[in-house]
């Protein structure tokens, strides 16, 4: 079988596996957040931290809990890295430098996992396990519970209470993430990923050179890293490293893991609003955009004539591609990691063809909604669905309603603020970096490619993706600090507007559907949401895309 055929077979198997998980996993997620029954371990934990599990929180209290938890997490993670040389199993590595430690702390708490360091040469085992991996669970849980709180905005009425953050996050970790991470970690171990506490070994190669072989509890980190849409990697080369991603089978499971929960969450949404077709409509939007991204990147990476002379001669854009997986698996991974907010890579995105890289950038710029990051994709697409019913209302005179709630000026202000936050953060940071001497010093490629690298970096950080084009010196203190702020504001500011919107919806009395209500379960609505997403993103980022990847590709 040709590698292209194998790539499409992998895609077909992914669709089948994700479709098989959609109903059971989505139903289970809905059950976790709607049942009144606590597990004994959860009751013990609530008692330990002094939580009244029956006390629902107003949206702003829910948010303040998130902010307080995240601020403490950043400070703890920062201290852990700075003091790692005092920790056991540090492999003789020194404390992480202050700017890298802060950027990394902000990165992991925001579910971004942008890494300005090589994991195996910077982080000891305890810093990774008790700091970074813990945040891979917690930041993913925070994203999902924000989505659940937003869904409660539709399911509740005449209240401003959206649930209890501490209860939601505890249930999410104990009932969903830990069990799946155990199963997934075992799959990777069976596939050959390493899981040990060995000290680094120095060996002599056949040619007489010395080589250091790293170890570590990699498999257990790898699964939650991907399933939680965290990204990055235990090793600097991420999923291109044979200890992290040993073979095509583990590669397929890794791609499956990063799509699993985001694609099942719309089912949980449908279940919670008691109309499964609503969830089906949103997952259809996600599938259309994901499939288009896979097809687009695959086309440009595999098709000769669009990547320059070397690509033509090689019949594929093979530079920067891990040869164990090949160009099709690289394209499938690149599309899947950028439409979710994962950011782990199995090939260098900087080596993608200009248009292939442009699609990856466009995927991230979409705001991580197709299917998006764990939870973040769900609340993102709900905001865009609200924008769509409003636009439909303006176009054809329908009453702007969604899931029985009126979309009034207040809701639209929240939606507009949500949507505008990320472009403001991304384009302002990119503008400052390009327009100042200190920012220009770290842009190693001139012209359109350099511009793409800068915009991609900030789009990736603000959207909590974490993948990077190489060629930008983001380890410079300027980029470490700027990036830390971009990640913090890119993560939490939209969540403020999303939960504010949810609070506003929850206070409303539901309105029954009438003849003037737009049916949001039809293919027409699916098409409209896709159109609104493409037009909004296209208009917002068109100048940057035109001057970056388009200019480079057409050169």
């Amino acid at each position: 079988m040709s590698s292209t055929g194998a790539g499409w077979l992998q895609f077909a198997l992914l669709v089948a596996a994700l479709a098989a998980c959609y109903v059971p996993l989505g139903n289970y997620i809905a059950h976790i957040f709607t049942t009144d029954k606590d597990w004994a371990v959860e009751r013990g934990f609530y008692k330990l931290i002094g939580i009244d599990r029956t006390a629902d929180q107003k949206w702003s209290t829910y948010l303040r809990s998130i902010l307080a938890f995240s601020a403490v997490s950043v400070l703890f993670l920062y201290g852990l890295q700075r003091l790692q040389h005092y920790l056991p199993l540090s492999q003789g590595l020194p404390g992480v430098t202050a700017d890298t430690a802060w950027n990394t702390a902000a990165s992991f708490v925001t579910n971004t996992n942008w890494q300005n360091y090589a994991g195996e040469a910077t982080m000891g085992y305890v810093a990774q396990m008790s700091g970074l991996v813990v945040q891979q669970f917690m930041s993913a849980a925070v994203g999902l519970v924000v989505a659940i709180a937003m869904i409660r905005g539709f399911t509740r009425s005449r209240t401003d209470k959206l649930g209890n953050f501490w209860v939601d996050v505890t249930r999410c970790v104990i009932r969903l993430l830990i069990p799946l991470a155990i199963v997934g970690g075992l799959i990777l171990v069976a596939g050959g990923a390493i899981e040990n506490f060995h000290a680094y070994q120095t060996v002599t190669t056949l040619s007489g050179a010395h080589q250091t072989i790293p170890g570590g509890p990699v498999a257990s980190s790898e699964w939650i890293k991907n399933m939680g849409n965290n990204g990055g990697g235990w090793f600097n080369t991420n999923a291109a490293h044979p200890f992290e991603n040993p073979n095509p089978l583990t590669n397929w499971f890794i791609i499956f893991s990063l799509l699993l929960i985001p694609f099942a969450t719309p089912r949980a949404f449908g279940k919670m609003v008691k109309d499964n077709r609503q969830g089906f409509a949103l997952v259809a939007v996600m599938v259309i955009i994901w499939a288009a991204a896979v097809g687009g990147i695959s086309l440009f990476e595999a098709h000769t004539g669009v990547g320059g002379t070397a690509t033509v001669l090689a019949h594929h854009a093979a530079e920067g591609t891990e040869v164990r997986f090949g160009t099709p698996a690289c394209s499938l991974f690149a599309a899947s990691t950028t439409v979710t907010s994962t950011g782990a890579v199995n090939c260098f995105h900087d080596s993608l063809t200009p248009f292939g890289g442009g699609i990856a950038l466009f995927d991230i710029a979409l705001g991580e909604i197709a299917p998006g990051g764990i939870g973040a994709g769900m609340y993102g697409i709900l905001v865009l669905a609200i924008v769509t019913v409003f636009v439909a209302g303006l176009m054809v005179g329908r009453t702007p309603e969604y899931i029985g709630k009126k979309i009034r000026p207040t809701e639209m202000k929240y939606a507009a603020l949500y949507f505008l936050t990320l472009p403001v953060v991304i384009l302002t940071a990119a503008g400052i970096s390009i327009g100042t001497h200190i920012g220009q010093k770290s842009i190693f490629n001139p012209g359109p490619h350099g511009l793409t690298e800068v915009v991609y970096a900030y789009a990736s950080m603000a959207n909590n993706n974490g993948s990077a084009f190489a060629g930008l010196g983001s380890g410079a203190t300027f980029y470490q600090i700027m990036g830390g702020f971009v990640m913090l504001f890119g993560r939490f500011a939209p969540e403020i507007f999303a939960l504010g919107l949810a609070g506003s919806l929850a206070r409303q009395q539901p309105v029954p559907a009438s003849a003037g209500t737009l049916d949001t379960r039809t293919p027409l609505f699916v098409g409209m949401v896709v159109g609104v997403i493409l037009v909004l993103v296209g208009l917002t980022y068109f100048p940057a895309l035109a001057l970056g990847p388009f200019a480079e590709g057409l050169h």
Binding site: L67, V74, A98, W102, K413, L488, F489, F492, A493, G500
Partner: protein, 31 residues
């Protein structure tokens, strides 16, 4: 190096302080 540490701790508190104020601002907008 302690200067850098204090600076980054202050930046963390400052960033979350701004977000905290944003929540407060949105609450005021609601009323």
């Amino acid at each position: 190096m302690w200067g850098w540490d204090l600076g980054f701790i202050a930046m963390t508190i400052g960033a979350f302080g701004v977000l905290w104020l944003l929540v407060k601002g949105v609450e005021r907008f609601e009323r």
